[in-house]
């Protein structure tokens, strides 16, 4: 009797183990963890991928956009292997890579495959000579303007800081728009995205090629002076120092502002059926400063990375390849209006038919710059946010603020 019992237990064990092994042989389950957005498009792609790859089954877990980073940090710091693919913000890549949380991808992607992508997103997602994430869609800061008003004045879109300021003031006083320009100047990451465009556009930078701090420079002081003038003046709304993307979009969308600096998502809103400014909006590169040579846009966008603790990296790479390939990017661009990351997609006829402006804005996208690529980035950004905000809302002058930020960042990095 006893023997029989032991035998049964043993047998059950063996059977259950073999069934586990068989299941592993059968289908690998991959968990994709990403922020919520354009879900139906990605859901359709996942379904198709699963059909085409009978040995892989991708499951999606999602998180609200604003708090995606918090849950990633918790999961990664806990060396969590219960998800395989992460959709991450471009500035997180060096941080997550240096923490050993995401896997290098050079094993799975050849150099020529990587060369097919826009250079900015690739630089932004590489760290220490290795590629750590594959850009799924990109984003860039764009100057939106009221085409109809500029045409009436017989003006071309502004190309310099001063032109932007005078044109915004001019349209504000001559037409029925109560604001000249809206932008993002709350103390948050978006503030850095905004100010960098003026700093870069004036020939300045935060870190140089050898990662030396170069924040406290004539060019940057001049750029910040201009930005502060813009924010404090009546050209921008009085509340602009608390504005995030939506706060800036709404007045422009309501035909109440002449210019707006924002990301590409705004295009879909201003061109919507019930939009008061439908057909009246143009897009231009950000203006250039007196010391600058070319316009600069801050790079945004989301990228696919592989969890370093995952047991299915190979399969995860297969999936990433699938949803970043040309076909997928065309579909994503058409359905969600997201900017593609493959150069070739900008030549696709289907895409150009829907978004003719891709052709003229291609220069903006290909020249968009990543924010400082450093594992210390979030701290660098916090210091700059605080100091810059004290210039635009307080009494500190640009010179002092940048000097203080410069010293603090230098101490932090060394």
């Amino acid at each position: 009797m006893k023997k029989l019992l032991i035998l049964t237990i043993l047998l059950t064990f063996v059977l259950s183990f073999s069934s586990v092994i068989m299941a592993e042989d059968d289908v690998v389950e991959l968990v994709l963890y990403g922020r919520v957005d354009d879900t139906s498009t990605i859901t359709n792609m996942i379904e198709r991928f699963n059909e085409e790859h009978p040995n892989i089954n991708v499951v999606q877990e999602s998180t609200p956009s604003g708090d995606a980073r918090d849950s990633y940090v918790t999961r990664f710091a806990g060396r969590d292997d219960s998800f395989d693919i992460a959709q991450i913000d471009i500035v997180w890549t060096p941080e997550f890579a240096s923490a050993g949380w995401i896997a290098p991808l050079n094993e799975y992607f050849t150099d020529s495959e990587l060369d097919a992508f826009l250079p900015g997103p690739i630089t932004g997602t590489s760290y220490d000579g290795q590629q750590y994430a594959i850009p799924r869609f990109t984003d860039a800061g764009i100057l939106y303007y009221r085409k109809d008003l500029l045409e009436e004045e017989g003006l071309e879109p502004p190309t310099t800081f001063d032109e932007l300021y005078t044109q915004a003031g001019l349209l504000q006083s001559n037409y029925d728009v109560s604001q000249g320009m809206t932008l993002q100047a709350q103390q948050y990451e978006g503030l850095i995205c905004n100010i960098l465009e003026y700093m870069w556009g004036n020939g300045g930078n935060v870190l140089d090629e050898d990662n030396n701090v170069v924040l406290h420079s004539e060019e940057n002081i001049e750029a910040l002076d201009f930005f502060a003038k813009l924010v404090k003046s009546n050209v921008t709304p009085s509340g602009v120092s608390s504005y995030v993307e939506e706060d800036a979009r709404v007045p422009f969308n309501q035909a109440d502002s002449a210019f707006q600096r924002n990301w590409f998502y705004v295009w879909g809103h201003v061109q919507a059926e019930d939009s008061p400014v439908k057909g009246k909006v143009g897009m231009a590169p950000m203006p250039v400063g007196p010391n600058g040579e070319e316009s600069a846009a801050t790079l945004g966008g989301w990228n696919m990375a592989i969890n370093n603790f995952s047991n299915h990296k190979e399969e995860a790479a297969t999936f990433i390849k699938y949803i970043t390939n040309e076909e997928a990017q065309i579909e994503n661009a058409l359905n969600t209006g997201r900017l593609p990351t493959l150069k070739s997609v900008y030549n696709s006829e289907k895409v150009l038919e829907e978004y003719p402006h891709f052709e003229e804005l291609y220069d903006v996208f290909i020249n968009a710059k990543p924010r400082p690529v450093s594992p210390m980035y979030s701290q660098i950004s916090e210091v700059m946010q605080r100091e810059i905000h004290s210039v635009i809302t307080g009494s500190k002058n640009s010179n002092e603020a940048l000097r203080d930020a410069h010293n603090e960042i230098e101490n932090m990095i060394n």
Partner: protein
């Protein structure tokens, strides 16, 4: 042994055991781990340094940060102001809805509404209300002539903290109201009747009967409001994200930035431990002032 055979003390320990098991079984590890991390150099951006024990180095580093003292100052100001207002208004609202009048249940329901809305959402609502272009507060104030032009409530260092406080008071006063209301219900009506016979006026009734008998309800409301206010995070994160220029950054917000943004777990845990010690100290003072007596008469 059956439960009915237990002595008073035995029963006492048995009744309290499940709560203690629950609380300490789950909370001890996270709490001690936070303390442990605060004594180690755990910076996930530089993992090649390992996680050496550094004693109080993280504490010293945090104490030298102006940002920490600024966050502490903001937290104290926020907690003191919002909790005082909440206690005052919550008490008033409780006395109000405790009266009998027509439509009392509507007032009761509306008093509770703010508290039933998740913090993230109420933060978003207030952001919208405070907006200078499409915000309804500016619209009303302009119409009433209180202000001559739109004010940037949350983008201005002189008004941002007060805007956060107003939103918090709106949201959490119902908590105080509910607790005080429940306390009011336990006061026997006979006490008021006999006081009336003795010729006491309303104010004397309030001072001599209501307040003393509400002592423990007030203490509980006060304690738990301070506890929550000192840890304030979500509301500020959504409303101002700590700005303008860190003027609304609270301790929890600072801890969050260190932990989840800078990945500096050592220093982030120090800020958490300091928050804990701050609340501990304040609670201790209040318990002493109220002199709660737990012995049996």
């Amino acid at each position: 042994m059956k439960i009915n055979d237990l002595s008073e003390r035995q029963l006492g320990y048995i009744l309290i055991a499940p709560a203690l098991i629950f609380i300490f079984g789950i909370a001890i590890f996270p709490v001690f781990r936070t303390i442990w991390i605060s004594l180690h150099n755990i910076d996930l951006r530089i993992i090649h340094l390992g996680t050496p024990f550094v004693g109080l180095d993280n504490y010293i580093a945090i104490f030298q940060e102006a940002r920490f003292w600024n966050a502490l100052k903001n937290t104290l100001f926020f907690s003191f102001t919002s909790v005082s207002l909440e206690m005052f208004l919550g008490f008033g609202a409780a006395l109000l809805v405790n009266r009998k009048f027509k439509g009392r249940s509507i007032v009761r329901a509306s008093v509770l509404i703010p508290w039933a809305i998740p913090t993230v959402i109420s933060g978003l609502i207030w952001r919208l209300l405070y907006n200078d272009q499409i915000g309804v507060i500016n619209d009303i104030f302009l119409r009433l002539g209180f202000i001559s032009e739109s004010v940037s409530w949350i983008g201005n260092s002189s008004t941002a903290m007060w805007s956060v406080i107003v939103a918090d008071v709106w949201k959490t006063t119902p908590f105080v109201t509910l607790l005080i209301l429940a306390g009011l219900q336990t006061i026997p009506k006979e006490l008021y009747e006999s006081a009336k016979i003795d010729g006491a006026n309303k104010w004397q009734e309030f001072i001599n009967i209501t307040l003393p008998l509400l002592k423990s309800s007030i203490l509980v409301a006060l304690l738990f409001r301070i506890l929550a206010a000192f840890k304030v995070f979500g509301l500020i994160d959504v409303l101002t994200s700590g700005g303008p220029s860190n003027s609304t950054e609270s301790l929890s917000l600072y801890a969050h930035r260190l932990l989840f943004r800078n990945l500096n777990f050592g220093e982030g845990s120090v800020v958490s431990v300091m928050t804990f010690l701050g609340v501990l100290l304040i609670s201790f003072i209040f318990v002493k002032i109220f002199n709660v007596d737990l012995s049996r008469k």
